[in-house]
C-alpha cells in the first residue's frame, strides 16, 4: 500500500490558531514521511512543551509529548535503545533554545541519528507572547509585555559551532521546500538540524510575518553545502538563507569551530567586543 501524507496523521485535531505556520510544518513532515515510505509503527516523534510540541501527537507514530525542554534526551534514549526506528524531534524556540539549550550541543556531539526540527516563531505562544531567545530586539509587539533587552541567539551558528553535520533552514510557508528539507534531514546518517521559521499569527502582526518572509532567500543552486565556511557565512547573514546550509561530507571530522570562528573575528555569539579579542582567546 502506498502511504500518503494524510496516512501519517493521527485522529487528533490540532489546537493551533487558524493560519498558524505549524500546520504547514505538520503537512511538510508527513509528506516527507510518505516520500521515504516509512512505516508509522517505526516512527518515533518526540517533543517537549509548547505550541509546536503539540505536533508530535498529530502524527500517526509512537509519539511522546514529554516535558519542557527535554525532548532531545528522550529521543536519544529511544534511538539508542531502538536504532531501527526513525526518530524525529519537534519543538519550539523556547523549548529548544532556552530551557532545553543545554542538551543541543551534546546531542550534536553524540551524533545519534535524529532529525531535530525547531519551529521558530520568535516568542512563547502558549504562555501568550513573551520574548524567547530568538526574539529580535526591534520586534514590536502589540501587547503590553516587557521589551527585549537581550540579543537573540543565532541558532544556526550555535549548531554549526557545536559540530552539527547537517544544518538546514526552511520556512513554514514554503511547503515544497519544507518537505524537501525534512526528507534530506531524515536521510542524513547522523544528527540533523532543521530550523523552520514559523511565525505566530496571534502574537505577531501580519506585517511582521510578511517582513520575515521577505527576508528569506533560497540558497543559490550553485551553493556548495559541503563547505563549512560558506555555511557559517550564510548563517551569519542579516537575511535568512533557506536550504541545506551544511552537509558534512561522509567520513570528514567535524570542523574545530569556536577557535576557527574566533580567528575570523566571528566568535559566537557575535559581539563587537569579542571581535577585538586576540585570536584563540574567545573570552
Amino acid at each position: 500500500m502506498v502511504m500518503k501524507a494524510k496516512d501519517y496523521r493521527a485522529q487528533l485535531e490540532p489546537v493551533w490558531c487558524t493560519g498558524c505556520g505549524d500546520y504547514g510544518v505538520l503537512k511538510g513532515l508527513t509528506q516527507a514521511f510518505a516520500d521515504l515510505e516509512l512505516r508509522p509503527e517505526n516512527l518515533g516523534v518526540i517533543s517537549g512543551i509548547g505550541c509546536s510540541s503539540r505536533l508530535a501527537g498529530y502524527t500517526r507514530s509512537y509519539s511522546f509529548n514529554s516535558i519542557h525542554g527535554r525532548a532531545l534526551p528522550i529521543a536519544t534514549g529511544l534511538k539508542l535503545a531502538r536504532p531501527e526506528l526513525t526518530v524525529v524531534v519537534v519543538g519550539g524556540d523556547g523549548d529548544g533554545f532556552s530551557i532545553g539549550l543545554g542538551h543541543i550541543p551534546h546531542a550534536i556531539r553524540r551524533n545519534v541519528k535524529i532529525t531535530y526540527a525547531v519551529l521558530d516563531n520568535g516568542l512563547y505562544g502558549l504562555t501568550k507572547g513573551q520574548a524567547s531567545p530568538t526574539t529580535e530586539q526591534d520586534f514590536k509587539r502589540d501587547r503590553g509585555l516587557a521589551g527585549v533587552e537581550e540579543r537573540p541567539l543565532n541558532p544556526l551558528l550555535l549548531v554549526l559551532s557545536s559540530g552539527c553535520g547537517f544544518v538546514a533552514r526552511s520556512h513554514a510557508g514554503n511547503l515544497p521546500h519544507l518537505r524537501q528539507m525534512f526528507r534530506e534531514a531524515m536521510k542524513y546518517p547522523g544528527f540533523a538540524f532543521v530550523h523552520v521559521l514559523a511565525g505566530c499569527v496571534t502574537y505577531q502582526t501580519p506585517s511582521y510575518a510578511e517582513e520575515i518572509y521577505r527576508r528569506c532567500d533560497l540558497l543559490p543552486e550553485t551553493y556548495d553545502a559541503s563547505n563549512f565556511a560558506h555555511a557559517v557565512e550564510a548563517a551569519r547573514g542579516e537575511r535568512f538563507a533557506l536550504g541545506v546550509l551544511y552537509r558534512r561530507p561522509e567520513g570528514e571530522a567535524p570542523a574545530v569551530l569556536p577557535a576557527a570562528l574566533a580567528g575570523e573575528g566571528g566568535v559566537w555569539p557575535p559581539t563587537p567586543e569579542a571581535a577585538d579579542l586576540p585570536p584563540g582567546d574567545a573570552g
Binding site: A10, L12, R39, P40, E41, N42, L43, G44, I46, I49, R54, A56, G57, R60, S61, Y62, S63, F64, N65, S66, I67, R70, L72, P73, I74, A75, T76, G77, L78, K79, L80, A81, R82, E84, L85, G102, H103, H106, R110
Partner: protein
C-alpha cells in the same frame, strides 16, 4: 518476610597474644620467620590500616580481602579518605569472619598505622581495645591520640619508611612489609599473598615483580606477632561492592539501557555498567546532566527496553520533574539513589539516610511511585530484581535507596546465583483494544505498546490525557486517570506486603525500626541483646504497614533508629500508623551508627 537466623559473631576477637615478647622488633634483611605459637581460634577479626597517599593502604586492604575470600572467609572492607582528590590520609577497615558480616565493628583487633599523625582524620572510625595488636612505624614515636583507646598489649614497630639523613626517601613499598607481617600474623601462607599480588598486577609485570621482590624481602622479618587463628571454609568466595552489586543485579534483572552522570558515591555503578552491560547487548550513555540521564532512560523505556539511572541526592533533585513524567506517561524507570550527607553539596563521601522524604514525596502533582531500600551488597542484587519487577510490571518510577556506606564498601559473600525470575512488562497486542490507558478486567495496568508494533501507535504524554492518550483539561478525566494510576499502588502494596525483614527473637520486648544500611549493625545488636528485635522494610513505599503492626504486637518499648537529623522515617511512619510512644533516635549522617553509639542512644531514649 525472612526472619534471619541469628549467627552469633564475636563482637571482637579475644586479646591477641603476641607470639614473641613485646619488643621494638626490627625487620631483618635475612633470617627465617619465627615459628608462631599456636594462637586461640576466633570467629572474626577487625583490621584497621591507616596511612597517607602513596603508602598503599587501599592496595594492602584489597590484597588482604582477596586472600580472605580465596580461603573462604567472609568479610567487609570500608575505606575512608581525607578531603584531597588524590593523596592525603587513607584508612581501610576490614573485618574478616567465618560467617557473613555486614558491619565492620568499631574496635580494631589490629591497628597497622604507617604515620601516627594520619590517625587524626579518622576520629570516630578507628578505635582499639585492650587486646589490640598495634603495628607502627619504628621511626615515628608521636603520641597516639587519647580517643583511639588503649591497648594493653605491647606495640610492635617496624621500619616501614626508608629514612636517609633524617628524611623519608622512596624505598621498598611500605604496604609489602605490611602485607608480609599481616599474612604471617594471621598464619596464612606466603603463596596466598603471592597469588593475590599476581591477581592484582597480572597485566603489569614490572609492577608485579617489584612488589613480589619487596614482599619476599619483608617475609623474612623477625619477631612477628601472631593473631588468633581465623580459618576460612576453604571454598573461595566472591568480593563485591554495593555499587557493583546494584549494577550486576540490574543487569541480571534485564537492564539493557543505562544513562548516568558521574556523582559521588554512585559513580561506580556507571563504571560497572560501562564494563559489563555492552557485552550482554546493552547500551550505556554518560549524559550531560541528570535531567538528560533520566530523560534518556525514559526514551529507552518508551522504546520497550528496561532502563535505569543511578545518582546521588543532588542528581535526584534534578531528576524530579522527569520522575513525574515517568509516572504520568506510565513509562517504567528504575532510579538508584546512593544517598550522601546533604542538602546541596553536603558531604559527598559521607553517608546519610536523609533522601527518604525526597524519594517518597518529591515532585509536583499527585503521582504513584515505589521506593525500595538496600540493606547491604548481598541484598542489593535481590533488591534490583524487585525494583525492575515493580517498574516493568506496574509501569511507573521505582526508586532504590542505597547510601554511601553500602555503595563503596566491599564485602565478601557467597558466589551470587542468578535464580530470580526475569521481570516482564505486560505488552500490548491488537486484541487488547485501541485505548492505551483504558483499564480492563482486574489488571492494575494497561498493556504497554512497544514501538515497532503495527497498529499500536499512540501518544505518550506528560500532559493529562484521556484513556486514548489524547491531551485533555477535563477535570473529570483528571480525577479518573489519577484513580487509574494510583490503582497500581494498591496492587503493589498487596504484592509486597511481606517485603520486610525482622531480626531477633520473636516476643522480645524492645523493638527497633530502621531501614537501609542500619541492617548490618542491628543484626549484631539483636544477636547480642536478646531483649531486642528489629524491623526493617525492604520496600518503603508502599510501606508494609500491616507487617509492621503485626510485628509490633507485644512490644513494651519501641524506637526508630536512623541517620537523618529530622528523623524522616519516624515522621513518615507517623502518617501511616499510630506512632505514639515510639521514640526517635535519629542523628545526622556522616559516619554509620556503631553498636556502642546505639547503646548510648537507646539508654538516653529511656529504653527499658
Amino acid at each position: 518476610m525472612s526472619t534471619e537466623s541469628i549467627r552469633p559473631i564475636a563482637a571482637r576477637a579475644g586479646a591477641a597474644a603476641p607470639a614473641e615478647p613485646a619488643a621494638q622488633a626490627q625487620a631483618a634483611a635475612s633470617g627465617q620467620p619465627a615459628a608462631p605459637t599456636t594462637p586461640a581460634a576466633t570467629e572474626s577479626l577487625v583490621l584497621a590500616l591507616v596511612g597517607s597517599g602513596g603508602d598503599g593502604v587501599a592496595l594492602l586492604g584489597d590484597l588482604v580481602l582477596r586472600m580472605a575470600a580465596q580461603q573462604g572467609l567472609y568479610g567487609i572492607m570500608v575505606q575512608s579518605y581525607g578531603p584531597q582528590i588524590r593523596g592525603g590520609e587513607s584508612a581501610a577497615i576490614l573485618r574478616l569472619a567465618r560467617e557473613e558480616v555486614h558491619y565492620e565493628g568499631e574496635h580494631a583487633d589490629v591497628l597497622l598505622c604507617f604515620r601516627v599523625s594520619d590517625l587524626r582524620r579518622f576520629l570516630g572510625s578507628v578505635r582499639v581495645h585492650a587486646g589490640s595488636l598495634m603495628i607502627l612505624e619504628a621511626s615515628d614515636l608521636a603520641e597516639l591520640p587519647a580517643w583511639l583507646g588503649k591497648s594493653e598489649q605491647a606495640t610492635y614497630r617496624y621500619p616501614f619508611a626508608t629514612i636517609v639523613d633524617g628524611a623519608e626517601v622512596e624505598g621498598d613499598p611500605k604496604n609489602m612489609l605490611g602485607l608480609a607481617l599481616l599474612t604471617r600474623a594471621l598464619g596464612w601462607s606466603s603463596s596466598l599473598a603471592r597469588r593475590a599480588l599476581e591477581q592484582k598486577f597480572g597485566k603489569r609485570p614490572a609492577v608485579l615483580q617489584r612488589n613480589l621482590a619487596a614482599f619476599d624481602r619483608a617475609w623474612r622479618a623477625k619477631d612477628v606477632p601472631a593473631l588468633p587463628l581465623l580459618q576460612g571454609h576453604g571454598v573461595p568466595l566472591h568480593i563485591e561492592s554495593g555499587n557493583e552489586a546494584v549494577a550486576r543485579g540490574a543487569i541480571e534483572a534485564g537492564l539493557r539501557f543505562f544513562a548516568g552522570y558521574p556523582i559521588t558515591p554512585s559513580s561506580e555503578i556507571l563504571e560497572t555498567v560501562i564494563d559489563e552491560l555492552p557485552p550482554v547487548g546493552g547500551t550505556v550513555v554518560q549524559a550531560e546532566d541528570e535531567i538528560a540521564a533520566l530523560g534518556m532512560v525514559l526514551g529507552a523505556s518508551f522504546g520497550g527496553v528496561p532502563a535505569m539511572t543511578a545518582t546521588s541526592g543532588p542528581g535526584l533533585s534534578l531528576m524530579t520533574e522527569m520522575m513525574g513524567l515517568s509516572s504520568m506517561a506510565e513509562v517504567p524507570a528504575v532510579i538508584v539513589d546512593c544517598q550522601r550527607a546533604g542538602p546541596a553539596t553536603g558531604m559527598p563521601s559521607r553517608t546519610e539516610q536523609s533522601d527518604l522524604f525526597h524519594a517518597l514525596y518529591a515532585g509536583h502533582g499527585d503521582f504513584p511511585r515505589a521506593v525500595l531500600g538496600v540493606f547491604d551488597s548481598v541484598h542489593a542484587r535481590d533488591v534490583m530484581n524487585k525494583a525492575f519487577h515493580i517498574a516493568e510490571s506496574y509501569q511507573l518510577p521505582v526508586l532504590v535507596l542505597s547510601d554511601a556506606y553500602i555503595a563503596q564498601r566491599r564485602e565478601i559473600r557467597d558466589a551470587p546465583v542468578d535464580n530470580r525470575g526475569k521481570p516482564r512488562r505486560r505488552v500490548w497486542s491488537a486484541e487488547h483494544g485501541p485505548a492505551r490507558f483504558k483499564l480492563t478486567g482486574d489488571h492494575p495496568t494497561t498493556p504497554f505498546r512497544v514501538p515497532g508494533t503495527p497498529g499500536g501507535t499512540y501518544l505518550a504524554a506528560g500532559i493529562e490525557h484521556t484513556a486514548e492518550g489524547h491531551p485533555t483539561a477535563d477535570t473529570t478525566v483528571h480525577q479518573e486517570m489519577n484513580a487509574k494510576r494510583f490503582r497500581k499502588v494498591a496492587a503493589i502494596a498487596e504484592e509486597t506486603k511481606d517485603w520486610y525483614r525482622t531480626l531477633g527473637r520473636e516476643g522480645a520486648p524492645r523493638g527497633i525500626i530502621a531501614w537501609g544500611s542500619q541492617h548490618g549493625m542491628l543484626r549484631e545488636w539483636v544477636a547480642a541483646h536478646p531483649e531486642y528485635r528489629a524491623f526493617l522494610p525492604e520496600i518503603l513505599s508502599p510501606f508494609p504497614v500491616r507487617g509492621l503492626e503485626e510485628w509490633r504486637r507485644g512490644l513494651e518499648w519501641t524506637c526508630v533508629a536512623e541517620l537523618s537529623y529530622q528523623g524522616q522515617l519516624h515522621r513518615y511512619l507517623s502518617g501511616l500508623t499510630d506512632m505514639s510512644g515510639v521514640k526517635s533516635i535519629a542523628r545526622s549522617g556522616g559516619v554509620p551508627m556503631t553498636l556502642s553509639e546505639l547503646e548510648a542512644l537507646l539508654n538516653s531514649a529511656g529504653a527499658q
